[in-house]
């Protein structure tokens, strides 16, 4: 009974959602593997000097100078409420175009995978603990599973400026 219900649910989902197969840039974050639509990616740069911006939420790492353009940078670990780690040689900023250019900081960038739509499953139902809004689906590559991110939602769902003052502890 259960499986049947699941399958029908999947089918209805697949009908309503667009074809999300395509090339994905995969990266590591806290030992999990994530994927990002390659069409959104502008470039990948190593970690660089980041200028903090006041009155911003914790996940806004600051702004960087991308060859003359000042763009905001988001720490994806912080965004997902994961524990921050030290930035190192492998840490990368992926510059994505979500209407404006933005940088996201990830642990390591891996490679580009071509994931056909048939290999992508809808996000699992994990209860209220995990925010599924950011997830396009689960992509299967060989034996691995990549979490495919809806980067527009990740970066646009929140206002970058927090008006309450952080000071006063």
């Amino acid at each position: 009974m259960e499986t049947v219900a699941e399958i029908t649910e999947q089918e209805t989902r697949a009908e309503t959602t667009r074809d999300i197969g395509g090339k994905y840039l995969t990266f590591h974050l806290n030992n999990e593997e994530y994927g990002l639509e390659i069409l959104k990616v502008r470039e990948i740069i190593g970690i660089m000097d980041i200028t903090k911006v006041p009155q911003t939420p914790e996940f806004v790492e600051g702004v960087i100078n991308l060859r003359g353009k000042v763009i905001p940078v988001i720490d994806l670990r912080a965004r997902f409420g994961l524990e921050r780690t030290e930035y190192n040689e492998e840490t990368c900023i992926i510059v994505v175009d979500v209407g404006m250019l933005m940088g996201i900081i990830v642990d390591t960038v891996q490679e580009v995978h071509d994931i056909p739509d048939s290999n992508i499953e809808p996000p699992p139902q994990l209860g209220a603990v995990v925010d599924m809004n950011f997830i396009l689906g689960m992509g299967k590559v060989n034996d691995d599973v990549k979490i495919l991110l809806d980067i527009d939602k990740v970066l646009n769902s929140d206002e970058l400026v927090q008006l309450q003052h952080a000071a006063g502890e």
């Binding site: 006041p54 009155q55 911003t56 100078n65 921050r84 780690t85 008006l163 952080a166 000071a167």
Partner: protein
């Protein structure tokens, strides 16, 4: 064929007139030269291969003559006397065959008068109708409007529907652009003429732009514009020859003409941007032109003629002034490039007769040059080749310039980064080469910046007209003195400073300067003075509007402020604060609202506009001695002078313009208030201290005595911002942070610092607002931090290990080395 006979007759008339004039030609008899020029143009027109009386020889001679004459008029010719001699010889040549050949030639070639011939002839008859005749003759023949002389042969002027074809639109657009410049030059020149006791020399400056407008309009078949300009030219010509006194009535008349011209030009411009219908809407100018003719004929004194309430001279500007001027700004865009093609245009339209528009163009260039106070190009006009003047400027889209300036900014940064590379020091050759590159980059930056710079003169000169109009309306005698008009600043700034200046100058005349009788009673000269000046001061330009009027009365201002609820009764205000009340919205000190100013809208807008330009205003005033409004503006909007400071491991930039001083206070200068706030006493004033690091959540409380306090001002109030260290002054290119950061308070943008990192630009009003709010909302600020040693104040920058309280401390410590490397 009547056209043919008429043309033949005209040719003979022209030649006869030319030879007569040549007999007594003097090189500085401009009016004769101008007339001769007109005849030559028409002669060349009438004899061009497509005309009814083609004569290649005469056509060539006439064209060359016209150019020589033009050179003489403009003072362009290299050797005036030689040119005069040339002209005389050429006319003699012209006169010789002229007596016999035209009719002979015409017999063989004029069987077919096709459509274009008729058109040319019609245009000749139409546009240049009165021109070749001597003034007395022309004026005697028209002017049906005056009651004095009813017996006339010429009916009142009638406008004809104006049609601009698709092909012509581009050229007309070019004309519109140029005409605007000429009108500006005219306004300046008119005032010069009015001011100078012997106006005759200045009249030439006035004559030329009118003449150019007339010529171009005639060529483009803009009949109304052409005729209007022509009639004024006639008047000016009389003035130049001493036949007419330059009275202020005449000046008024010219100004009115200019206003009507403006409306005409703008309605044409409006039509070009948004062509609706087959004909171009034109203001009715018929009666005004008739009036001008009547004045020129001496049958009507201009003062009387215009003040008798005839609706036309008033009506056109009134009914159309708003709409077309609004469109005017948008009409500019498609014009670019029209200048370059003006030559081709002339050939297209006039067959083999490029002379006249070329001459017109030369005139325009030379006269606009003259109006800017620069020497007109001394090209080899006499030889007939185009003068070099056409190469002297190119119109460029500002967006392209902006992009260039941006790129150059990046280039400078990239170059600095390369230069900082340690490998360069190791290799002498590389070091030398990179030094060379550095030099070039700096030069490029300078040039890129200079490209946006224009002198403020034209903006100032627009005020001259305003002062004149306002003072006459208010029955005041005011003289405008302009200085520093060569001061250059960013084109964007000049464009945007115009409106605020208009308001302030108007206020100075309307509110500042007293009525003549009051001035005499106060022991001042009857004539009030408004001094408009511009000067560079540091990296800024300071524009001052200084009047010697009655000055501002702080008590009156405060009383008014209380009345308006802007000031609380009992509130103590310094004089400066009282003065700045006039910038409050809805504040007006004029007891009576006049139609010029006094509604209290304006000064707050002025202030906002100036603040948008990142400028500030200061007022100095003495009761009875007048007021001085100083506007301090950045030279450019793309770059600011900034003071780079360090707070909590981050670098911030104070716009230098907001800084009054920076100091390290002594403990006795600091007073705490209820352990919550601090004030610093500087030269007797108590200034609240803002802990920027705390406010931005970047650091703990810093002991101001171990740090630096930057005294900045905001809205006339001072704030002291506590920073860890001043890192130096630097010019920075401003970058926007983008819309996602729009609601940030206290930060107006970002800048790329010398090392390529981003620094945030501070904004005082936001800081003050955030600070005040925090002060109101925060519970007792923990004082424990005061016990701590001042963090980092004396440490080396490299050892900076700041901890941002917003981030988890664990990660931050590890994070820092990466960030500062």
């Amino acid at each position: 064929m009547s056209n043919e006979t008429e043309a033949n007759h005209d040719i003979q008339v022209f030649v006869r007139q030319l030879s007569e004039a040549a007999d007594k030609l003097l090189k500085d008899d401009l009016s004769t030269l101008a007339k001769m020029h007109g005849w030559c143009e028409q002669l060349s027109e009438a004899t061009n291969p497509q005309a009814s009386q083609p004569s290649p020889t005469m056509h060539a001679i006439a064209a060359s003559l016209a150019q020589n004459l033009e050179a003489l008029i403009l003072g362009d010719a290299q050797d005036l006397d030689q040119t005069v001699a040339d002209v005389v010889t050429m006319i003699a040549e012209l006169a010789d065959p002229a007596s016999t050949s035209p009719s002979a030639q015409s017999a063989s070639t004029t069987e077919s008068v096709d459509q274009s011939d008729a058109e040319v002839a019609a245009r000749l008859a139409d546009v240049f109708d009165e021109e070749p005749r001597p003034v007395a003759e022309a004026s005697g023949s028209d002017g049906a409007t005056t009651p004095v002389e009813a017996a006339t042969s010429v009916p009142p002027y009638e406008s004809q529907p104006l049609v601009i074809g698709e092909k012509e639109a581009e050229f007309v657009a070019g004309f519109v652009e140029e005409a605007r410049e000429h009108i500006e030059a005219i306004e300046v020149a008119v005032l010069d003429v009015e001011k100078s006791s012997d106006g005759s020399a200045k009249i030439d400056d006035l004559f030329r732009p009118f003449h150019t407008i007339k010529g171009m309009a005639g060529f483009l078949n803009l009949r109304d514009v052409n005729c209007l300009a022509h009639e004024v030219e006639t008047l000016l010509d009389q003035g130049r020859k001493g036949q007419r006194q330059i009275t202020s009535d005449l000046i008024d008349l010219i100004f009115e003409t200019v206003d009507i011209l403006k409306v005409q030009i703008e309605s044409i411009a409006g039509y070009l941007t948004n062509p609706e219908g087959n004909t171009v809407p034109q203001p009715p100018v018929g009666r005004f032109i008739d009036k001008l003719r009547a004045v020129a004929a001496g049958r009507s004194v201009c003062g009387v003629g215009l003040s008798d309430g005839s609706p036309d001279p008033e009506a056109p500007p009134a009914e159309t002034a708003d709409a077309p001027t609004a469109e005017a700004s948008t009409a500019g865009a498609p014009v670019a490039g029209a200048e370059l093609t003006a030559d081709d245009q002339s050939r297209d339209r006039k067959g083999a007769s490029p002379t006249q528009p070329q001459v017109a163009q030369q005139t325009s260039e030379a006269s606009s040059g003259a109006s800017l106070g620069t020497a007109p190009a001394s090209g080899p006009a006499a030889t007939g080749s185009r003068p070099a003047a056409s190469d002297q400027s190119v119109r460029i889209e500002t967006a392209k310039l902006d992009a260039l300036v941006d790129m150059v900014g990046e280039l400078v940064i990239a170059q600095t980064l390369v230069e900082a590379n340690s490998k360069i020091a190791e290799d002498p050759k590389l070091s030398k080469d990179s030094g060379q590159v550095a030099k070039i980059v700096r030069d490029v930056q300078e040039v890129a910046m200079a490209m946006r710079m224009v002198p403020i003169g034209p903006t100032f000169q627009r005020m001259a007209r305003l002062v004149r109009d306002v003072s006459r309306k208010a029955d005041k005698k005011v003289e405008l003195i302009i200085s520093g008009e060569d001061t250059e600043l960013d084109k964007n700034v000049t464009q945007q400073i115009g409106d605020p200046l208009v308001h302030m100058v108007r206020n100075a005349v309307d509110h500042g300067i007293e009525l003549p009788q009051d001035r005499i009673a106060a022991g001042k000269s009857e004539v009030g003075h408004v001094h408009l000046s511009a000067a560079h001061q540091g990296g800024n330009i300071v524009i001052q509007i200084q009047d010697d009027g009655k000055g501002l009365d702080p008590e009156k201002l405060i009383a008014k402020g209380i009345e308006k609820g802007i000031v609380q009764p009992g509130e103590e205000l310094t004089d400066e604060q009282a003065y700045s009340l006039i910038f409050a919205p809805g504040f007006s000190t004029a007891a009576q609202v006049t139609d010029i100013s006094g509604r209290g809208v304006g000064m707050d807008v002025v202030k906002r506009n100036i603040e948008q330009l990142r400028g500030r205003t200061e007022i100095a005033s003495g009761k009875g001695r007048g007021s001085t409004f100083s506007i301090c503006l950045p030279l450019t909007l793309a770059i600011i002078d900034g003071m780079v400071v360090r707070v909590g491991g981050e670098r911030f930039i104070f716009p230098t313009i907001t800084i009054e001083q920076a100091l390290r206070p002594r403990p006795e200068q600091i007073t705490t208030v209820q352990q919550k706030g601090e004030v610093v006493k500087v030269r007797g004033r108590l200034i609240p201290l803002i802990q920027l690091g705390e406010l931005f959540g970047l650091s703990d409380h810093i002991d101001p005595c171990q740090a630096m306090v930057v005294i900045a001002h905001n809205d006339g109030r001072q704030i002291g911002v506590v920073v860890e260290e001043l890192l130096g002054q630097q010019q920075v290119v401003i970058k926007t942070l983008g819309e996602r950061f729009e609601s940030l308070r206290g930060v107006s943008g970002a800048a790329i610092l010398g090392d390529g990192r981003v620094g945030l630009i501070l904004e005082m009003s936001g800081i003050t607002a955030a600070f005040n709010e925090r002060h109101l909302s925060s519970k007792v600020t923990p004082t424990r931090s005061r016990m701590k040693p001042p963090p980092r104040a004396n440490q080396d920058r490299e050892e900076e290990t700041s901890v941002a309280p917003t981030s988890p401390p664990v990660t931050d410590e590890r994070l820092t080395p990466v960030m500062t490397c």
